[in-house]
Symmetry: C2
Subunit: 319 residues, 2 copies
């Protein structure tokens, strides 16, 4: 018998979303010992599966990505906890402290997976909203920042970008912009798709798009504006995608950047964060950029707070 | 031999666009004697056709819709005059007087089709834009209004809505919003399509969407907002389409309504104009609504100004 040390695996952590999974094998201090990606997300797993058979469909996908790792406490966040997930882990209502001590357990053949609930703002006089998975990244972000010493705006860019206001460890408000999804629809179908050629990176076109997106004639007008630029020979068809990206991101930033004086943190895919940082710099706002791997840190932090690792420590000490 | 009278056919007029054609048989005064619709628009005609064979592909479509009408002067506007059209009728540059005496003739087996050029704003320091077909509707609108006694904003809602500023018969500026195309993409694909059910008309949902679209968190955020409303049971899935329609139209109106004091005219599909009129009323702006059949009047007016009907009168008088 030995005490748990820093190099011994202590936790399996999963970020299990709509289109894929990321899995980490962590030690008791949250250090990453192994990391994997797979494409068995909610959409692939539930495709053609009756609601009653979903749990049975999730379990093999879980074993597939991490079944060869040691039997350990396991935690997951993301759409795996949605109504179409392995279990409906529900939502906590904003304002909500970022601690998440109440996880939802899913028993399976080799043990229990603990699923993190999402966050919601109920629809009422103001607009409602939901997030699932991002709450875990937020905990990782706060962990990485230490005490930010004041309110922070955390921006998680992606298919559905989240803008989150955090004060003293409490999420006080958030909003979702479906910017990435709009980009995907416009660049693959319809007028702009017919006008564009296969994308070639073009930072000047992106900057031009940012300027158009700030011009305030509206997203539907500035996006269409890419077409006359191509017709006039001012914009190359292969640069249309970057131009459109600039228009959409600038429109999002223009509308959701409410408090330019609060600290702003970007967390997500590196190239996407670079684009958002440029859009924010264009508005005179400097952002701290964190990697999306922060999710592993958030999962470890939640597991620790929920006592998942203590259980293991106890089991190890008292065999 | 007889003089041309009001009831004798004098002109064939076509509004020939991307997805279809409308054809009118008019008398010398522009009264409609017959009207037809067909679906042989630019997309259907040019699909899989080599650029060199396009003219040969347009001629049968022309005869198909109006080949059994008398041999008469003929005029067309719309995408039939684009680079992928029967002939490239070019563009006139804004500011442009709405007279269009220079039509582009296309000879065919039974005579000549006269095609109306479009309008463009060249891309420069400001944004560029193009229209083709709407310039003809504008002429019909001015004809219907008489002397509007001051600047007019004409809104032509549709797949690509046009907002046009007209002063003393001169188009001084215009902008295009791809609102209808965005609606079509969002309601058939992606997150909102999966959240929605088949549309059931719901004016209350439309009004709620209008209010959200005015809230200024941006189109990408307010459109996504339909999803939490459905998740919270506040919005029926079948009412999501009308909610989204309200969000998108309000966003367009918020951004493109520059001069609430100038007279505003709506021209287009009846149901769409009703929605825009509600969105404008929500901003305290009353609009005059005209039918999209105004295109026939515009085509007749252009044909008259270009002398197409005089030619016929002369031929009739001097056989």
């Amino acid at each position: 018998m030995s005490l748990v040390t820093d190099t011994e695996p202590g936790l399996i952590a999963l970020d299990w979303g709509t289109s894929g999974q990321r899995a980490w094998l962590l030690d008791a201090e949250g250090e990453i010992l192994d990391a994997r990606r797979a494409s068995r997300g909610l959409l692939a797993i539930t495709e053609g599966v009756d609601p009653g058979d979903r749990a049975a469909a999730y379990e093999p996908a879980f074993r597939e990505i991490c079944g060869d790792w040691p039997v350990l406490p396991a935690i997951a966040s993301g759409m795996v906890g949605s109504a179409q997930g392995w279990v409906d882990a529900g939502y906590r209502t904003v304002p909500a402290r970022l601690d998440f001590t109440s996880l939802v357990p899913v028993p399976h053949r080799d043990g229990v997976l603990h699923v993190v609930p999402g966050l919601r703002i109920p629809s009422g006089d103001g607009p409602g909203d939901v997030m699932r998975g991002e709450e875990t990244q937020l905990i990782g972000v706060l962990e990485a920042l230490g005490d930010p010493g004041g309110p922070v705006t955390v921006v998680l860019p992606g298919t559905h970008s989240k803008w989150v206001r955090v004060e003293s460890g409490i999420v006080t408000d958030f909003a979702t912009a479906m910017t990435g999804e709009l980009y995907g629809l416009l660049i693959t179908q319809g007028t702009l798709a017919r006008t564009a050629a296969d994308a070639v990176p073009d930072d000047a076109a992106f900057s031009r798009g940012l300027a158009a997106g700030r011009r305030s004639r509206g997203l539907a007008t500035e996006a269409f504006g890419a077409r006359p630029l191509v017709l006039d020979g001012v914009l190359e068809p292969a640069s249309l995608p970057d131009y459109l990206s600039g228009v959409l991101i600038a429109d999002e930033v223009s509308h959701l950047l409410c408090d330019p004086d609060s600290r702003l943190v970007l967390c997500g895919d590196g190239e996407l964060c670079r684009r958002y940082a440029l859009a924010l710099a264009d508005r005179g706002v400097a952002a701290t950029v964190l990697s999306e791997d922060i999710a592993a840190r958030g999962l470890w932090r939640i597991a620790t707070a929920a006592g998942l690792l203590e259980d293991r420590l106890e089991r190890t000490l008292k065999p």
